[in-house]
């Protein structure tokens, strides 16, 4: 199967954007990936071996977190696994009024 490596982790996978692995399950695929590229491990897993909270793993178009067997889900050679760090943020609500004034001054 193919594991797609996101931009920030390619530096730890020899610059590759995709890696081919042979595995029976999602967990097996991630094990094989981190065996080949050990520097990826700390970016994907906590010290306790759990997938980091901000790392999303998708089997084809499905979020592994919501699959019944999760990482124990079986995979086939034609499946793809996408590693997607989350993206979120936003401005601070407590500065709302003050910031309006600052923007007006800056402009």
């Amino acid at each position: 199967m193919t594991i797609f490596i996101p931009t920030p982790l390619r530096a730890y996978a020899a610059g590759k954007d995709a890696v081919e692995v042979n595995a029976a399950t999602i967990a097996g695929a991630l094990d094989e990936l981190t065996l080949e590229y050990p520097d990826l491990r700390k970016h994907l897993f906590t010290n306790e071996g759990k997938v980091r909270a901000f790392v999303n793993i998708y089997l084809n178009d499905e979020d592994v977190r919501y699959m019944p067997a999760k990482e124990a889900t079986e995979v086939s050679p034609t499946d793809t696994l996408s590693i997607i760090p989350s993206i979120a943020g936003g401005c601070q609500p407590r500065q709302w009024t003050q910031s309006r004034r600052r923007i007006a001054v800056a402009e």
């Binding site: 954007d17 999303n56 609500p93 910031s99």
Partner: protein, 158 residues
């Protein structure tokens, strides 16, 4: 220092998106190529803000949409180089929330201040560092290329 280079079309598209969603935050992805001097952005993709509970001061792109954006970038022979979002009635500076929720090390985070519905300052910050523990935002200049055009998507990409 790295530099974020992008076409006028991409720059204007980001800012227009922020005006359209005002007073709520907009968000999207930037696709490009890595160069020794920094990212060269060739396309932007709008995303939905899933933080409908607090869209005036929060944004989030669903991971499912990110998977599709990532697929689109591969089809175009590009990489996800960063993300953009707007700060309605708030300066174009990263917040502690932005830093805490930023995990794309080496990528650019572009913020446009939208004051009273009009796009104001646009700034870019590269997420530097190599771990979650030492990550930090570093300001990077934006170079808008007036002559470059935004390429369309590869029609074979699906």
């Amino acid at each position: 220092m790295s530099e974020l280079r992008l076409s006028r079309a991409v720059y204007d598209a980001m800012r227009a998106h922020g005006e359209e969603t005002y007073p709520y935050e907009c968000c999207g992805a930037l696709l490009g190529r890595s160069t020794p001097d920094g990212w060269w952005i060739e396309a932007s993709i709008r995303a939905g803000n899933t933080r409908t509970d607090s869209a005036h001061n929060r944004y989030e792109i669903s991971p499912g949409e990110l998977v599709k954006i990532e697929r689109e970038s591969r089809c175009q022979g590009l990489s996800i180089a960063g993300f953009y979002h707007s700060h309605p009635d708030h300066p174009a500076q990263w917040s502690q929330t932005d830093l805490a929720e930023a995990h794309w090390l080496g990528c650019s985070y572009v913020i446009t201040a939208v004051a009273n519905g009009k796009a104001a300052t646009t700034n870019s910050f590269r997420l530097a560092g190599d771990t979650e523990e030492n990550k930090r935002f570093e300001a990077e200049p934006i170079a808008v290329q007036d002559s470059a055009s935004q390429p369309g998507a590869d029609e074979n990409c699906n």
